[in-house]
């Protein structure tokens, strides 16, 4: 079975025009001026993994559109009793879910769900694979600060290997011709990462990544996903931590982004996190209108 119309499984499969349509729609969404586009609809938030930002902003977005939300988490539900992914999906469909927003530790879980259940499935992050709503809200944030994607250079610094945010960001930015530089040690940024999309290259040197860069995206070292990999944190900090001094290498009007959660003193200093160039909280804010657009689109309400 094909995924239901309105599903958002990943950025890789979207074309640039569709991405622009979603971003345009997001610009018309205002969380403070609710629009009952999805009045009476039931949106299930199915979270197999911890989340603060993504979960709360999907919930606020759904409510701003007039939908009911039901939160299911692995602990405190039948998932804990051993119910399979698909059985949970069939159950949610049977109780009347109109869309399922899913966060899952395994890559491809939303795809598996979407191919068996005839309601739109929205990927809220699947393992190391993709995090499409984050990429869209990051694109929204970039366009709020830069005229367009044209001629932009974006450096993504940190744990690329374990990052679904990085994969989705690369796919999205590449579709608009953005030059993308991935930076970090080989364990976290394997050479193969450059094959992800056109215009992506890998460097080990942070100065190389920052020179001429318009957008600096920082990523957390995902200790919970290292799976036996040993990372020398002091060494990482020495080579890759974003400090005010390093940030000066980037363009003067460069902005700093981070999908969160941030670990102060590790991938960035507090001065950078709280500095004038930081857009970290703006990203969180932009999550709501972006996810309103994603949810409206999932129910065919693109206007």
């Amino acid at each position: 079975m094909n995924a239901a119309r309105g599903s958002l499984l990943g950025i890789e499969v979207l074309d640039a025009a569709e991405i622009m349509r979603i971003l345009k729609l997001a610009r018309r969404m205002n969380p403070h001026r609710p629009r009952p586009l999805l009045k009476g609809r039931r949106i299930v938030l199915l979270f197999y993994e911890a989340s603060t930002r993504t979960r709360s902003s999907f919930e606020i977005a759904a409510k701003a559109l007039g939908a009911h939300t039901i939160l299911i988490q692995s602990s405190g539900s039948s998932i804990e009793k051993g119910e399979s992914l698909l059985d949970t999906g069939y159950t949610l469909r049977a109780v009347g879910a109109d869309a399922i927003v899913i966060r899952h530790p395994n890559a491809g879980a939303p795809q598996v769900m979407a191919h068996h259940i005839d309601v739109p499935v929205i990927n809220a992050g699947d393992g190391l694979h993709e995090h499409p709503s984050q990429a869209l809200l990051d694109a929204y944030t970039i366009l709020g600060n830069k005229k367009s994607f044209k001629g932009l250079q974006v450096a993504i610094i940190g744990d690329i290997f374990h990052s679904r945010v990085a994969r989705s960001a690369c796919h999205l930015l590449s579709k608009f011709g953005v030059r993308i530089i991935l930076c970090g040690p080989p364990e976290l940024v394997p050479d193969v990462a450059a094959t992800l999309a056109p215009g992506v290259r890998v460097t080990r040197h942070i100065e190389d990544a920052l020179r001429g860069t318009d957008v600096v995206m920082l990523l957390r070292v995902q200790k919970e996903r290292l799976a036996g990999m040993k990372i020398d944190l002091p060494e990482y900090i020495a080579r890759y931590q974003m400090t005010p001094a390093r940030l000066k290498t980037a363009k003067k009007d460069a902005i700093v982004m981070h999908p969160g959660p941030i670990i102060r003193g590790l991938e960035l200093t507090s001065e950078v996190a709280d500095g004038a160039q930081s857009r970290i909280l703006a990203e969180v804010q932009n999550g709501v209108p972006t996810r309103m657009a994603i949810l409206a689109r999932s129910m065919g309400k693109m206007r």
Partner: protein
């Protein structure tokens, strides 16, 4: 199969290909009392109780699969010896070698005897491969001599490779003394934790942790090294999937010709790029590899380096497969598609002669495990025969598979080459 037909059966009008007997010609063949009684040019043999019209068909020695999981004892919900051997017969296999990673593990002579008991309901010959170490824990060797006496044809810890150098050396020493092959599933499992496909650009893109080619090659290199040092060692490497492992095997075979290996149909038919939408019917171990690895497998099958095509038939219930890719069970079924994939991919596409393909299913496997009297149709051999139409086009429908499980990536594939009859000990056990 202990019983055989007392009456005689004449297979006439067919084209006989017996690589071991160096025959590739129109020949009639008479089967009597479970053996091949006579081979002669067309219409020379008279007086048979029954006749099989093989006009337009290839008549070959019965196929042998060195690597199947029939899931007994203990996992009958996936497959049984009865259902698995029916699927084998439908695929043209008259003999299958069963893997010991069952529940419990086949690590004692009693279990070997149990597997061979006619009460299991096998319709083709079952040759058990026993565990190489107790409970396949990789620490203490099993009693090779007693297992061999009970009827095991080889030992292995399939799925759980023997990592400890000393244990592997001891296994090869003991196996060498007894002329008993040690089969290795070559995977350094210390390097493949949490991995579900081949490591490369595609696994990175999909966000799946990948098994490197090195995880296979390093174990093969070590085993080949040991097999070159240990006198009379018999090493058989299961399901070789990487070009790097192949390099080590080619080098080793020059010193010790008793080093053998098999290649599965999926490793010559598919690559890592074929998996779509996290479909776990493309998940197996070793995983589907790169296009370059696949090409290397085709070369090894064509040039004689590989000894056998073995299916690694690994049935799983739907509930073990219809789930998150990373959590789904490893393995696919393969008995019913092996010959057709070989003809479609190796013969029609890669121009490998039919004789060589038949060798990979018959004389080749026999050399790996010393299955005497099989893999050939010379007079006096066992009356195990596979009859197929090498030109017949058909579409594989997984839902009609005779295996208890349907976990195959080849559902809906248009294939060339179809088995029309499988004869075990002179008895037709399958006719298509």
């Amino acid at each position: 199969m202990k019983t055989h037909d007392k009456t005689s059966l004449l297979i006439h009008g067919g084209h006989l290909i017996d690589p071991a007997g160096r025959i590739d010609a129109p020949m009639d063949i008479l089967l009597k009392e479970g053996r091949v009684a006579e081979i002669a040019p067309p219409r020379k043999i008279k007086g048979a109780d029954r006749r099989f019209d093989a006009r337009g068909l290839v008549v070959a020695p019965g196929f042998i699969d060195l690597h199947v999981h029939l899931r007994e004892p203990g996992q009958q919900y996936k497959e049984t010896i009865a259902t698995g051997t029916i699927a084998a017969a439908a695929g043209g296999f008259t003999s299958v070698c069963t893997m010991p990673n069952t529940s419990p593990v086949v690590d004692s002579p009693d279990w070997v005897t149990w597997l061979r008991d006619p009460a299991r309901g096998a319709v083709v010959n079952v040759f058990p491969i026993a565990a190489a170490t107790r409970a396949s824990k990789g620490a203490t060797l099993t009693d090779f001599g007693a297992l061999q006496t009970a009827g095991a044809v080889a030992v292995t810890d399939d799925g759980k490779p023997i990592l400890d150098d000393q244990v592997m050396r001891e296994a090869l020493v003991l196996g060498g003394e007894l002329n008993f092959p040690v089969v290795q599933h070559a995977e350094d499992t210390r390097m493949t934790e949490h991995c579900s496909m081949h490591a490369g650009a595609r696994s990175f893109r999909l966000g799946l942790r990948g098994m490197t080619a090195a995880a296979e090659a390093t174990i093969v290199e070590r085993d080949v090294q040991l097999a070159m040092q240990v006198p009379n060692a018999r090493l058989h490497v299961a399901h070789v999937s990487t070009a790097d492992a192949l390099k080590a095997l080619r080098r080793g075979k020059r010193t010790n010709p008793r080093i053998t290996f098999e290649v599965t149909p999926h490793h010559f038919a598919l690559t890592e790029d074929d998996m779509r939408d996290y479909d776990s019917n493309y998940k197996m171990n070793p995983p589907l590899r790169s296009a370059a690895d696949r090409e290397a497998m085709l070369v090894a099958l064509a040039d004689g380096s590989a000894s056998a095509i073995a299916t690694d038939h690994a049935p799983h219930a739907a509930h073990e497969k219809d789930m998150e890719f990373e959590r789904a069970a490893f393995g696919i079924t393969g008995l019913e598609t092996a010959l057709a994939l070989a003809i479609t991919r190796l013969h029609v596409k890669a121009r490998v002669p039919l004789t060589r393909i038949i060798e990979l299913f018959t004389a080749g496997p026999v050399r790996c495990f010393d299955l005497r009297g099989r893999g050939t149709l010379m007079r006096g051999s066992y009356a195990d025969v596979t009859i197929f139409d090498p030109k017949k086009k058909w579409t594989f429908d997984a839902s009609k598979s005779l295996s208890k499980s349907k976990n195959t990536p080849f559902d809906g594939w248009q294939l060339t080459g179809r088995v029309l009859a499988t004869i075990v000990g002179g008895t037709v056990v399958y006719s298509g």
